[in-house]
Each structure stands twice: as structure tokens, then as C-alpha cells.
Symmetry: C2
Subunit: 289 residues, 2 copies
């Protein structure tokens, strides 16, 4: 990757995240020319009209050719499928990053794809509404953006990548893949599983019951289930790529719920009060951060 | 309860809900004169300045004397403590309603307090920020407001109560207490337990881990944990008053999470996909309602 701003940026996957990166890079002069690679040709006109990319193609090889920085902004499975094919398609010194939600599998794949100059990343921003039509130039403003080097990383591209991320308005934070994946299992993947499970449980009732349940839904239901609007296919890929950390967090979380259920059944109000008070105190301290 | 608008409305507990009822009743001419009964004298000046009440007192007996409609807008335990004491304090034909989140215990208490003319209700509106300073005249606009008559109800006050609720801008829906309590166990009480449990789990880590977890929190975490800001004392009372339905829903929910954990551990991607797709489809159909 050359001097900043990036001369030629290639974004593979021009959806919500890829499109927002293009918009932010243009708005903030982080890239001079942006090439999009997007398999769904129906979205090309939108992406060009919005200014998310300067040109767009369905062909990976011609898109990444001559790029100084390549960003993989496709679903997890596609990231893992593209990484092994990239090295021969690139000119020397091209840096590749991805923006997938799970990092261990990606940096493992990148290590095997040597001599690819690869750094994993993950912007903590998104929306339950996907697609380039939901892309926004300010999506990453003040968002944490994890930077995850491969195991035994010896390159010198991290600074270039963090400079680019900073230029998009985000805050780069460097960490290793297992630390990242364990944290997002709790902070992001679990909330998605909870949302899908809540709405599925409601739907698993008679039609008459469901009407009543929906009438008796207010703000707490809407907040808790909002991300069930997210693509179940994308989230199946994320969950299965982060299977072990997510399964562990699900088991701990289920055990906590069962402890509360037992406390309720045995009229052990003190345990209920103590759990709720601990959660409340934790939330209030979050707000102060 | 006499002709509409209510001549003299007494609101017992002038916090978020009680204060919002006062503001809405004044703004929409649903009551001519509003008396507040509030134990916390520090909030009296705010309640009067905001116009949530026309007069305010700390004394229940003098507040409810001469009232045509009395609304109990205090926490669950206080509702159950006040109901048995009310009948001797009221003039003939006064109607009493409560706005508590659980109904079976309340209508049971009201039945024992015969000849009290009592109807349970529950507005599906609120906020994680309590107190009269958060009260809003439009809090109930288009919100469902459950109307729950006592068992073997033979009075003729339901129409007056639903007229009053409609006048506040809400949509009254009549149902029996067990149906109400079973539904809100899933749609409201469970989301609160999930929020408290999520933030408590995050707080149950080393300080260094917590920093990373907070940095890697985005929109899905914020939505899922928003209501952990709610008063843990209020929610302990709600949860323990609805103990059996909430414990049942917690056990079913935990079992669903463990099914997903097992599917992740055994690389059973199809089960994960099927669960997420069912939740997603349910959420999309909710949005169409």
C-alpha cells in the first residue's frame, strides 16, 4: 500500500458496508479512485449514482488489478473463498483487508495464502438493513474498527491500514483474533441470536395468541428484536464461523437464565434483585464510558 | 365513575406513568381537575410546574377523597398494599384502576377488597428513564392499553374506563389476567431479564477484558441492553409478581439457546439457519402489522 490517500481502492462487495466505505473514502479524500467488484449487477446503477464507487465490475480479477488497497466486504463464506485466489491477481505491495465479523478463520486463511499482504479488520458499525441503498458516508464516524493482524505478523502495513481507517472517521483498535472473536460472541453475535429466538418463540404460537402477544409488545420488545431484521443467511455464516466462542457464551447465558427461573420458582426474591441490580449497575457504568 | 370528561381525577404515584397520564388528561381534556398523591415531596414542584397535576399531596386519604377516578401508578408492591385500604376512603361510585405490569395478583387483591369498583389496566408504554421529569403528554399515543376486569366481573365501568383510555390517545384492548400475564412474560419481562443478564455478564470480567468488550459493542448491543437502565427494584417486583409465567418462558428460551449451542458445536449449520430464518420471517411479519 502506497502513500496516503490511497491512489486506487478496490472494494469487493458493494453492499451496506462496502458502499459506506466507498462513500466515506470519497467524502473524506481517503482514496482517489474507487473500483467496486459486485456480483449483483442489479445494484450497479445505484452504487454509481450514489457515488459509492467510480467504476464497477462483476469480475474480481479486473477489479483488483492495479489496486493499492483491496477491501473484502462480502459475507464470511465469500471472504474465505476469495482469499486463496487473490495473490496472483495483485500487483506487488497491494494490501488486502477484510471487514468480516469473525477474525480467527480469516487470518488463518490469509496465512495459508502467503505471500498475500493481509490484515483482518472489523468495523463496529452496521444496520439491520443491508444493501448499498442503505449505505451512508458517516456510518463509521466515531465507531471502533478492530484491526487484527495475522498470527506471527511481520509486515509493516498496519500503520497504513490504521491511517486509512482513521481517515474514514473511525477509531482503529489493534487486537488478536481470539480476543476479538470472544468479545463479539457476547457483544454482537449473542444479541442477534437472542433477537431471532425471541421472534421465533412468539411466532411459534396460535394465530390468536400471536395477535395478543403483538398487541402487548412495546419498546422493550422492539429494542430486543430489532436486529432480527438482519439477513439470516449472513448471520448463519457469522455464527457458524464463530461457533466455539458463541456456543460457550450461549451456554453461560442459558445457565444464568435458568438460575433466575429457579429463583422465581422458589420465591428467592433476593437472587432476582441481586442479578437485576448487577446488570443495571453495569449498564449505568457503560453509559459513563 | 361519572360522565366524561372525568370531573376529579386522582393519580396515586406521580412518576413517569402517573405524570404522563396527568399531562395527557389535561392536554386532551379527559379530566377537569387532577390531584396527585406522591410520597416523594422532592418531586412535587416539578409535577406542578410541568402541569402534570393541579394539586399534590403526600396523604392518600385526602388525595382520593371526592375523586371520580383513582389511578394507582405506583410500583407493584405498593399497588397491592394500597388496594385493601381504599374502599373506606372513597365516595360512592368512584372507579379505581391500576397501571401495573402484572395483572393476576392485582385483580385477586381487588376482588378481596370488595365492594371496591376496580378494573386492572396496563398501558404498553414506558421508558427506561423513570420519574416525573421524563413524563410526556404523548407517551400513550397509539399505544395498546390492556383493560383487565376482575374474575367474575359484573360491574358496568369498563366502558367508562375504555373511554378514558381512548381519550388519552391509547387503544384499549380487553383481556383476562392470565392471558395478559403470559403474554407480557415473553414480550416485556423476558427482554428486561435478557438486558440485565447481558450487561451483568459483561461486567463479570476482568477490567482489561471489559474495555475490549465495550470497544467492540455496537448497535445490536445497545438495543439489546437499553432497558437495563430501568430500575432494578421496580423490575424485581414485576418479575416476582409474574414469577410462574416468567420462569416458564425463561426455561423455554434457555432450552432454545442450548439447542442452538449444540447445533454450533456439532457443525449442524442447517439447524442454525432454520432457527435464524424463522426468527427473521417472524420479525418481518411483525413490521407489516
Amino acid at each position: 500500500m502506497p502513500a496516503f490517500p490511497v491512489n486506487r481502492l478496490c472494494i469487493v462487495g458493494v453492499g451496506l458496508i462496502g458502499g459506506s466505505i466507498g462513500l466515506a473514502a470519497k467524502a473524506r479524500n481517503a482514496a482517489r479512485h474507487v473500483v467496486g467488484v459486485e456480483a449483483d449487477a442489479d445494484t450497479w446503477a445505484d452504487a454509481l449514482r450514489m457515488g459509492a464507487v467510480d467504476e464497477i465490475t462483476g469480475d474480481l480479477a479486473s477489479g483488483v488489478r492495479d489496486a493499492d488497497l483491496v477491501i473484502l466486504a462480502v459475507p464470511m463464506e465469500a471472504i474465505l473463498e476469495i482469499i486463496p485466489r487473490l495473490a496472483p491477481l495483485l500487483k506487488p505491495h497491494t494490501v488486502v483487508i477484510d471487514v468480516g465479523s469473525v477474525k480467527a478463520a480469516v487470518v488463518r486463511a490469509a496465512k495459508k495464502a502467503s505471500p498475500l499482504a493481509f490484515i483482518g479488520t472489523h468495523p463496529m458499525a452496521g444496520s439491520e438493513r443491508g444493501g448499498v441503498e442503505s449505505a451512508r458516508a458517516d456510518l463509521f464516524e466515531d465507531a471502533t474498527w478492530a484491526v487484527v493482524p495475522p498470527i506471527n505478523y511481520i509486515g509493516d502495513d498496519i500503520e497504513d491500514v490504521t491511517n486509512f481507517i482513521t481517515a474514514l472517521g473511525a477509531k482503529p483498535v489493534t487486537m488478536m483474533a481470539p480476543s476479538h472473536d470472544e468479545a463479539v460472541a457476547l457483544t454482537s453475535h449473542l444479541p442477534h441470536v437472542l433477537a431471532y429466538t425471541l421472534t421465533a418463540m412468539r411466532a411459534n404460537r396460535s394465530e390468536k395468541d400471536q395477535k395478543r402477544f403483538l398487541a402487548l409488545s412495546a419498546g422493550s420488545w422492539k429494542s430486543a428484536t430489532r436486529v432480527a431484521e438482519s439477513s439470516p443467511e449472513l448471520w448463519t455464516q457469522i455464527a457458524t464461523q464463530n461457533a466455539a466462542p458463541l456456543a460457550a457464551v450461549l451456554r453461560t447465558f442459558a445457565a444464568e437464565l435458568l438460575t433466575i427461573a429457579t429463583a422465581l420458582e422458589t420465591e428467592d426474591m433476593e437472587t432476582v434483585r441481586e442479578r437485576f441490580a448487577a446488570g443495571h449497575a453495569a449498564k449505568m457504568s457503560e453509559r459513563e464510558q
